[in-house]
């Protein structure tokens, strides 16, 4: 790692939500992280893993629950340090012209009109936006908008440039083009920024741009890997070392961390009103239909395929693909092995079955392997009228997940439950019903 002094350093920074009962929901486990000059650092992880939160903690926008962020060795004094952020949604002010948007941060720093104007025009020229000064953001294409976002970020000559999924909202070609331009600016030292911190869920993007990649695991966010990409720029995506590293990252992202995985109890009858057993595993947010599609594809490929190959071919990003694979793995329809996914005997039966049989197979698998669904079924069966309020399960889940995650868990559980005809949900009364056989 570089010998220089870090620009920003996070020491044992963590984020959690304390529950009224003293229970904690950990979003980010204690993390140490330092950003050194002359590097593009990519923070890689699936969506909802806490990487954006980490970015906000580093910039001073959000406060960590514990730990400390040091800016040149000193803690923040309430003032946001000299950094900029490029946002996924561009976050431009639609009522300001391109020029006014870029001038806004200078205005905030008390730069006078003439100077402001000069600097804004210069930076707009750098990002290739000359001629668009008087346009409003809504007149621009997505790529142009993000150029404005970059110009606004660079105009204050930030010491550290943060980018939060900057190319995710753009189409593939535009994103590729902007990545190239960013790299060009960076390598030719046309920006005075000393380091870039890029948050992304796109493995290839990280591989193309970054000098150093930090892979984050979720629930709670922990650093799974932190390594330097010692490949010369521009990088050849077909180079063996490039492909090797890509596979390595896929492997990290898909390997379950056993030490965090709770043991799945075989049968634990639960009666409503009693406290539930242990921890739930997190349901991956995928639909049964998506999983069925994946299994069919695997069947056509002799039952096995590389993850990076699959993602590439389906033009899907890890974010979209992982939950589907995790669902198949959870239900024991597929197995993850060394960055490859392999269909199991059960998965084969499922993929070859007709619609009604699939439902039955899904039902069996879900009740056997997904503790939340099993718990819901038991609880409903235990009640004489076979119905329970959604809030009951919400309360139970509250002890295990953050509020948003509870919402997502329930939605996924309800979706699976409906598909498998285990239980149904009445949206008007917010109640779950056991499906009558």
């Amino acid at each position: 790692m570089a010998l220089e002094e870090p620009i920003i350093e996070a020491r044992a920074v963590e984020k959690f939500f304390a529950q009224p009962d003293g229970h904690r929901i950990q979003v980010i486990a204690p993390i140490d992280l330092a950003i050194y000059p002359n590097q593009i650092v990519a923070l890689l992880g699936a969506s909802g893993c806490g990487k954006s939160t980490l970015l906000r903690i580093l910039t001073g926008l959000a406060l960590p629950s514990a730990g400390q962020v040091l800016w040149h060795g000193k803690p923040f004094d309430g003032q946001i340090p000299n950094v900029s952020i490029v946002f996924q949604s561009f976050a431009l002010f639609p009522w300001l012209t391109v020029l006014d948007n870029v001038e806004a941060p200078l205005k905030a720093r008390g730069v006078r009109a003439i100077e402001r104007h000069k600097r804004a025009l210069r930076i707009l020229d750098t990002v290739g936006l000359d001629g668009f000064e008087a346009a409003y953001p809504k007149e621009l294409s997505g790529g142009m908008k993000q150029r404005v976002g970059v110009a606004r970020a660079l105009v204050v000559e930030p010491e550290l440039l943060f980018m939060d999924e900057p190319f995710s909202a753009l189409d593939v070609l535009t994103a590729e083009n902007l990545r190239g331009e960013l790299l060009e600016l960076w390598l030719s030292k046309k920006m005075s920024t000393r380091a870039i911190f890029l948050v992304t869920h796109n493995i290839e993007e990280a591989m193309v741009l970054a000098d150093r990649i930090i892979v984050l695991d979720r629930n709670p966010a922990t650093v799974r890997a932190d390594f330097e990409v010692q490949l010369a720029q521009p990088r050849d995506r077909r180079a063996p070392r490039f492909i090797e590293l890509m596979d390595y990252i896929y492997k990290i992202l898909t390997q379950p961390k056993r030490e965090h995985k709770p043991p799945v109890p075989e049968t634990t009858p639960v009666v409503s009103g009693e406290s539930p057993p242990g921890k739930y595993q997190m349901l991956p947010h995928a639909r049964p239909g998506g999983m069925a599609g994946l299994l069919e594809i695997l069947l056509n490929r002799q039952g096995r395929d590389d993850l990076s190959h699959l993602a590439d071919e389906l033009v899907m990003e890890v974010d979209d693909l992982l939950p589907i694979i995790e669902t198949a793995a959870l239900l024991n329809f597929a197995r993850l092995h060394e960055g490859a996914v392999e269909i199991t005997a059960e998965g084969r039966t499922f993929a070859e079955a007709d619609i009604q049989t699939r439902k039955l197979l899904f039902r069996d698998a879900a009740l056997r392997h997904a503790s939340l669904l099993r718990h819901i079924e038991h609880a409903l069966k235990a009640k004489s009228d076979h119905t329970l309020s959604e809030d009951f399960f919400r309360d139970v889940l509250d002890e295990h997940f953050s509020e948003e995650e509870v919402q997502r868990q329930l939605r996924t559980a309800i979706h699976w439950g409906r598909y498998a005809e285990i239980f149904d949900y009445d949206a008007d009364h917010k109640r779950l019903y056991l499906t009558e056989p």
């Binding site: 906000r56 910039t59 926008l61 004094d77 309430g78 003032q79 946001i80 000299n82 950094v83 900029s84 952020i85 946002f87 949604s89 561009f90 976050a91 002010f93 639609p94 009522w95 300001l96 020029l99 806004a104 941060p105 205005k107 905030a108 720093r109 008390g110 006078r112 009109a113 003439i114 025009l121 001629g131 668009f132 000064e133 008087a134 346009a135 409003y136 953001p137 809504k138 007149e139 908008k145 606004r152 204050v156 008007d428």
Partner: protein
Amino acid sequence: MTKPIFGRVILPERTWPFFIDLLIFGAGLALFYGLLVIAQTWFGPFRPAAEISQRPQALPAYAANSLLRMLIAYALSLLFTLVYGYIAAYSAKAERIMIPLLDVLQSIPVLSFLPGVMLAMVALFPRSQLGVELGSILLIFTGQVWNMTFSFYASLKSIPQELREVARVSRFSWWQRFTQLELPYAAIGLVWNSMMSVAGGWFFLMACEMFVLGQRDFRLPGLGSYLQAAASAGDTTAILWGVGTMIGLIVLLDQLIWRPVIAWAEKFKFEQVESAMAPRSAVLNLLRRSAVVADVNRTVFRPLTERVGLYFARPIEGPKPPQSLPAWRRWTLRVLALTLVVATGYGLARAGLMVAGLNAAEIAEIVRGAGATFMRVMIALCIGAAWTIPVGVAIGLSPRLARVAQPLAQIAASVPATALFPVVLLVLIQTGGGLGIGSVLLMLLGTQWYILFNVIAGAMAIPTDLKEATSIAGLGTVDRWRLLILPGIFPYLVTGLVTAAGGAWNASIVAEYFHFKDQILMTTGLGATISQATDQGNFDLLLGATIVMSTMVVTINRLVWRRLYRLAETRFKLET
């Protein structure tokens, strides 16, 4: 300073800079003179019985008077909105009290306070005309401020997280955040709510201007009093002149103020893609081309905002902002809160004592009145809904019909119902109808438009694919209404009915009790009880009846309308 010229120069189709500039200059001068004249009368001595002329020549002055009252009330409302909305949005503690309070205030029928407020203001300024003027302004203010405040508060609360973060990372000062983020983001909501508020304001203004209490004549020189005087005298020509001026004024305001403002506010729309149908305004184009406006903008406005902006801006390597003084501020707040609680308690106790002094007959009158007014409001709503739903759906589903009918309906709706009360009464008396039925008609007059416009909007919002699906499915008329149209317009209908109900309660104050041609027309009702109690100086009864009315309206809001709203938002929302 040289400004570079940017690429998008718009070539105007026609330019009359000289003419326009002269026009703008002249208008400014005339406005200033008018303000001077009106100020003279306002600060002049109080005239117990206003002489209201019926000559058409008096109309411009009356219209100017009415307009100025509206303007001041609106300016007050805007100021209140910005301050109240800002505090409620940013102080979590204050929010918990301020928002429920706002909700109660907005559902109380303002006109029930008209008699009380007028008396209080006249007592406050016994020697000058200012008291009555302030009273009317205060009432218009309370009639129009709440929805604006709500809109501003809701806008502030819904500013996207990332825009806020941009402001923070860019180190915006509060002033820059206010002018470049918060105000622009809230602009569209503020503009539309301002329009609605001002339209509602006319309703209250007319009621205030023609206000007479027993022997005391609080009439203010204005369009409302002119119309009332004309109707009292049965002077048809004067009535026509008055109504014409009223409509003219409203159309003029729409063309000269609201349309340009809406077209201008278009740029604040929070959208990332340009919409094809942007509102336009010829007046705004004129102003944009005017050399005078451009000059003023360049030499006065721009340097001024630059100065203010730089004043608030923080230098790059600035010292830390000084810590605020938490100790004395906390104490001031505590003292303030305590005073508020004590004052409220005292007021409540006194009010309780006063109401406790009501005798059985008076209580019976209030209860009977409450029942009668409630029935009238319901009947007015039913009649309104009965004709507006089919008509509104027909207009909403047929673009051809909408093009003709909508502007007409807008003009008809823009005339404040209170302005027409005297005229309608005149007709009622001549045809021998009583105020019992007449007051329903008067309520209907003011409230049916809310339902109509909402139904039209609802019918227009029904997605084409759903319409096509029902046609393909070959549904009959009944099924079409049951499965498509009624569920489709339901959320809009609820909104319309809520607004209409509020308007109807308000109207009952002026509709059930009326001074007309030196006689008093009245019928049984809570509104009549309130007006009559004030007339006779029976403050116990006035207070009791006002409390009953406010409580009823707030309770109905909570029990009925809010539930329907929730239903509309969950089940009948058309999500795309």
